[in-house]
């Protein structure tokens, strides 16, 4: 992946007509992906983008790279095969909340556990869009949908919690309409060696419109969003007067200037901390008690699966007497007639 080229976002657009609904959050994410890929400088032929099934999984057709539209839930498994076969490729997975966390839940946790160097973009709209409006594993308890006309009676999964629970090393969160933030995060994810999970809170304009309205509301968004930056204090709010502190092993929202709180008391974000404890707390923060955290929440590099596989094969090859199939066929117990 050393080869660098200069490309523009438009170079990553395919000739296919984009068929998402007008107003769908996926358009913005597609735009961010095109920009991020241009920024990384990776040539188009070195990029493979793999998806499953669902609205977001139509992504491959809108990319002018190598891409593969798989089957429901299995994109992480297909992408694992691509990456193992050719570790030089930049491999991306596009998935949704149903695809990754319901039918594909098993693959999602195992690919993270293995630390295969993939960039997983999880578009979370808390609904099944392509099948026209059934609740998903991330729908809040009580959500009304076509298959939960009286409200769901099951608690939701939180992608960040699952990622960290599966020993994930990279988790970030963005919002569909914040193309700049999504782009920046995707560039970080692409550089990161290991499985990176990027959750994008995405609006389904038809079946779950305004699901994130409480975060996006123009009047309050600065108070309800915490944009994390590495090494910076966790300060937010319209007047930059709120912050996060740790008290009794719990996060707490405080107001600067009140009760003697100054910037010095505010937690400094360290995505590279080995312990996932604070990352987990940040990923879990939710309205109304807390702002929702965005940005790169965790980024701790460890050896990737492909690297370990390569090392093992090279070591065994160096130390084995069997160099080809003829050697193998004649190894062990043989006799001549």
């Amino acid at each position: 992946m050393n080869e660098q080229v200069t490309l523009q976002p438009k170079d990553f657009k395919s000739d296919q007509e984009v068929r998402w609904c007008a107003g769908c959050g996926d358009h913005a994410v597609l735009s961010a992906v095109h920009r991020a890929m241009a920024q990384t400088g990776i040539p188009r032929e070195k990029i493979a983008l793999i998806s499953g099934i669902g609205c977001s999984s139509r992504f491959p057709y809108y990319m002018n790279t190598y891409a593969f539209h798989g089957i429901h839930g299995r994109a992480p498994a297909i992408a694992s095969g691509v990456k193992m076969a050719n570790p030089d490729l930049s491999v991306w997975v596009i998935t949704g909340d149903g695809d990754a966390l319901a039918i594909g839940g098993n693959h999602f946790i195992h690919v993270i556990r293995r630390n295969i160097n993939l960039n997983i973009i999880l578009l979370n709209n808390q609904i099944y869009g392509l099948t026209k409006g059934q609740y998903s594993p991330t729908s809040f308890q009580g959500q009304i949908s076509k298959t939960s006309p009286f409200g769901t009676i099951e608690p939701p999964f939180h992608p960040g919690e699952l990622t960290l629970g599966a020993q994930g090393n990279f988790f970030a969160r963005s919002l569909d309409y914040n193309v700049k933030l999504t782009t920046d995060i995707l560039v970080e994810a692409a550089k990161f060696q290991g499985t990176s999970v990027v959750e994008v809170l995405q609006n389904c304009v038809i079946y779950n419109d305004n699901a994130y309205g409480y975060i996006n509301d123009k009047a309050y968004k600065e108070d309800r969003q915490l944009i994390l930056e590495q090494g910076k204090p966790m300060i937010f709010g319209k007047n930059n007067d709120k912050g996060i502190i740790m008290e009794d092993m719990q996060l707490k929202v405080v107001k600067l200037g009140e009760n003697g709180i100054t910037e010095k008391n505010i937690l400094i974000h360290d995505a590279k901390a080995q312990s996932p404890l604070i990352h987990w707390m940040l990923a879990k923060m939710n309205f109304p008690e807390f702002p929702v955290a965005f940005g790169v929440i965790r980024a701790v590099e460890e050896d990737t699966y492909s690297l370990k596989m390569k090392r093992q094969i090279e070591y065994i090859q160096k130390n084995s007497k069997i160099k080809n199939v003829d050697d193998l066929l004649r190894s062990g117990n043989t006799w001549e007639v």
Binding site: R44, S80, G81, I322, T334, W335
Partner: protein
Amino acid sequence: MADNIKKPVRELENVVIRFSGDSGDGMQLTGTLFSDTSALFGNYLATFPDYPAEIRAPQGTVGGVSGFQVHFGHGEVNTPGDYADVLVAMNPAALKANTKWVKSGGIIIVDIDSFTEKNFQKAGYNNDPLTDPKMKDYNVIQAPITSLTQESLKDLNLDNKSVLRSKNMFALGMVYWLFDRPMDFTNKFFENKFKKNPVVLEANKTVLKAGYQYAESSEALQSSYSVAPAKIEKGIYRNINGNVATAWGLLAAAEKSKLTLFLGSYPITPATDILQELSTRKDLGVKTFQAEDEIAGICSAIGASFAGHLAVTTTSGPGLSLKTEATGLAVITELPLVIVNVQRGGPSTGLPTKTEQADLLQAIYGRHGESPLVVLAASTPSNCFHYAFVAAKIALEHMTPVILLTDGFLANGSEPWKIPEMKDLPDIKPPLIKEGAEDYKPYKRLNDNMVRGWAVPGTKGFEHRLGGLEKMAVTGAVSYVPENHQVMVNEREKKVEAVVNDIPDLKILGEESGELLLIGWGGTYGHLYTAFRELRKEGFKLSYIHFNYIKPFPKNTAQILNSFKKRLVCELNLGQMANYLRMKFEGLSFLQYNKVQGLPFTVIELKEQIKKILEGK
């Protein structure tokens, strides 16, 4: 009889021995050592292990009996044998489970020390089975195997557990004397295996010799037997079972295609050994991936295939079911993929350690939509190598998934195999599109075989999208055009049918036309061929074909089928091949002989059935 008087030696053509005991008694090792010795001695041979699904069922019970059968001979050997000439039973449960598999008049060696009231109960006998009048049909040798093993090791400083663990070698020593086998190979095996444990090495050697000497001096054994070496084709040989042969055939295909082998798989009996074998072959650059489930196994293989590797997934019945959706994905994306299905007794978990041929129609048709792929079946443990190689060659050169059917009988059965040389195997030439090629379109057909080009990620200028949605002919863009769907369905079918141009004609054994054609496929070859050969020897007229290529069938199939008045299809299911043939060759009638007991055919039952038909009964 005094020690110094040599007992008579009788010449035999073929012998079947069945070793049986508790699943912890080491019967598989005992059988394997006997087989290796016989192979080195120059006999033809075939073996088959018969073990329970439970790893260690309660000791002494019939459910926990593990067996290993070996058939060796001076004459041709194609099966592990129907019935045993000699049964070794280490306890009453082993006797109970296996007496029905011993020929009338055969020798039964029992460890008389284990014939106690407690063990009778465990085995479900009301009293001593050796007092049963039926036992008079056999020559029962009551050998105090446990106590003599203990006696022979009393001077060694060994705990009782280790002493008892070597009693299988006493039984082996007895059988070595009985069939006049040399002990050097087995002693060499001990020297290698117990290099770091001289006491155990000494113990095994001592017990083996003690067993041999006991048999030599025992009054109960009146004579020994000799099975002369066979006239075997010159060459270098090794013993191989079907699973290892499959793994090695895939390695050979990787080398001949100059591609890296990728195996995505999930452990499942009886296919696991292929994954295990390839996992040890990192020295040949194999990438093995033990996936989180069967679906991830095949999906990772599809990903590896997209990225340009020789991709394989291995499984058995239930796993094949789990892989069906992804198999359809490989069909529509027209990527090379080998799916090995080691058939076992079904449906559901069924009989996991037993053999069956009931996945045939699933292999041919078991997917949604019109979803054609190539189906092959291996027919002997060693030719799993050849058909695994061919499966990979067809997959790569025709850009299609291929299902290779083997079964539990082939997978675990072993036989001597003349080792091929890689230079004698054909090259494999996948339609890889290299940088700089002109005018690449993902679904443009390159030749009459309807093969599309394989441009893998990393190749500049040919970036394209594949996926499960229907493709526009030539361009591969997503298309919902009704007429295009028809075109693509037809093209995929034609592409698989075109494989017929690259496969050999069916070989007919016996006359080219006549009264009766015997038909088999897959793992039943050894039994069917032996029945055919013996009947011909007895003067009966019949011919025989055996299918290894199932979809598509070889070109001359219709012509052969039409040349006989009667056609008898024998298979280990309720008639799947017979029905498939009826459908493919409309108007022809097929007789059937079927068995679904988790067991191979016996040559005896096949001969009876065939004779009935030939004699018009």
